[in-house]
Structure formats: C-alpha cells, structure tokens
Symmetry: C2
Subunit: 115 residues, 2 copies
Amino acid sequence: MSNMKNKEELSEEALEMIASRFRLLSDPMRLRILHTLGDGEMNVTDLVIATRAGQANISKHLGILFNAGIVSRRKEGLNSNYRVADETIFELCEVVCSRLKKQLETRQNALAGVF
Amino acid sequence: MSNMKNKEELSEEALEMIASRFRLLSDPMRLRILHTLGDGEMNVTDLVIATRAGQANISKHLGILFNAGIVSRRKEGLNSNYRVADETIFELCEVVCSRLKKQLETRQNALAGVF
DNA sequence: TATAAATATAACTATGCAGTAATATAGCAA
DNA sequence: TTGCTATATTACTGCATAGTTATATTTATA
C-alpha cells in the first residue's frame, strides 16, 4: 500500500515543511506582529506604529506570514487589513512559553540556597 | 506592582527567548535527530548512521540541543548517549503537522472539480 | 489630471548559521 | 607507552534572510 506510514523515517520533504513552519515563528519581529494582531484586525500603518518598526520591514513580514497562510488580508481602499488566520500559532507560543518558564524555574531551584 | 502582566506589549527579551526556541526546531536535520531519538536513547555513532549525516554535523546539532535543554547526555566510556529531555517538542511538532495537513486539504478542495 | 497617502516590491548589505574538513580530547586496548 | 575509537571543537565556506533605502503601485482626493 502506497499510503503506508513509515514510523521509522520521515521524508526530507516532510521535515522541510515542518521546519519551515517553525522558521516562520523564529523571528522576534514576526512574533511581535502576531502578538499585536492578537487584539484583532489591523492595517499596516497601525502595525508600524504599534511595533515601532520600518514600514517596508512590516510589509515584508506580513507578506511572508500571508504566503504561509498564518494571516489573512482584507483590502479596503488604500489600506490592507491583516488578521491572524491560524490560531494554532498561539497554542504553539503558549506551549513554548510554559516550557521556558518551567525550565527557568528548575534552574533557579538548582541555585537556591547556594551561597 | 512590578510583577504586573502587560498584555499589550511583550519585551524584546521574551520575544527573543521564544523565537530562539522555535529556531531550534526550524532545521530539518535537528528535527530528524529528535525524531530518531524518539525511539529512545542513542549514541552519536548510531545517530550518524541512522541519519546518514556527517559526525561533526551531528555532534554540533546535539550540542545545540543539549545546551537548550531539549536533549540530555549520559556519557558511558567512549560513548555519549543522548535522549529527548523535553517531550513538549513532540507536542509542538504534532500541532504543526496537523495544521499543515488541514491547510493542504483546504487547498486540495479549492482545486477539486476545477478542470 | 495632478498630487498625496498607504502599501508592496526591488536591490543591497550585513549577519547568522548549516555543513564540512581537520584537529583536539578522552577513554580503551594491546 | 602506543595506537585506536568515539566524540567534541575549531576554522572555514556558502547560503539564507532581516533590515533598510529607494522606488513602484494602487487608490483616494483636490
């Protein structure tokens, strides 16, 4: 059967797809944009103001996120309004954040009472 | 209160920590290593064989994952045995993978019946 | 039509990092 | 000791990409 799942080995293509997804989230500016968009739809100018970044930079990041299907775009006159289209993003961030907290806590305890 | 959570703005430091975590997972070779280690503890040589990669490359990736606390190391004679220390990794991969599947399915449906 | 505003894109630079080859280090064996 | 094996590290190269500047594109307005 051609559809058999091979649990031992993942194809290079599958690995690349998954890695690319994580790569999208591996940039602080994109995370900042997504977090800002968490409040709801925003246009580019407002995002530029909110993030205190350059317009070209924000547009480029939004284009990347849009192409990946993570945000959606709604054009309205001169404006482009973006919103988060993939809510699993926040789930991923929360898992990472919780884990980081736990990890730091463990390290703190390791030092507790030492000197 | 100095511990007040500011829901509007994330610090650059927090963003960088979270982004770094995702960056660890944004490389196909590291994902392959982690997937291989999913079967249990392995030493470097076996990982080199299983992944068909260079020894220096595997050692470097393992060092990166070890420093991040994602894998643990147990030295035994000449060998270094690694295992996954942070199981949330697999949770993250599963969320990403499910989302990718759904996304591709949606695109397939968009083309269904067209020509 | 001419001008201005909002956004996108192109070209460029600089930085980070994956892969590799060579070497170092550490434990084991003869 | 001498040599062998497993792993780590260093130095290097090439590629991907974040940020920026300048420009193009699109739509609204005077």
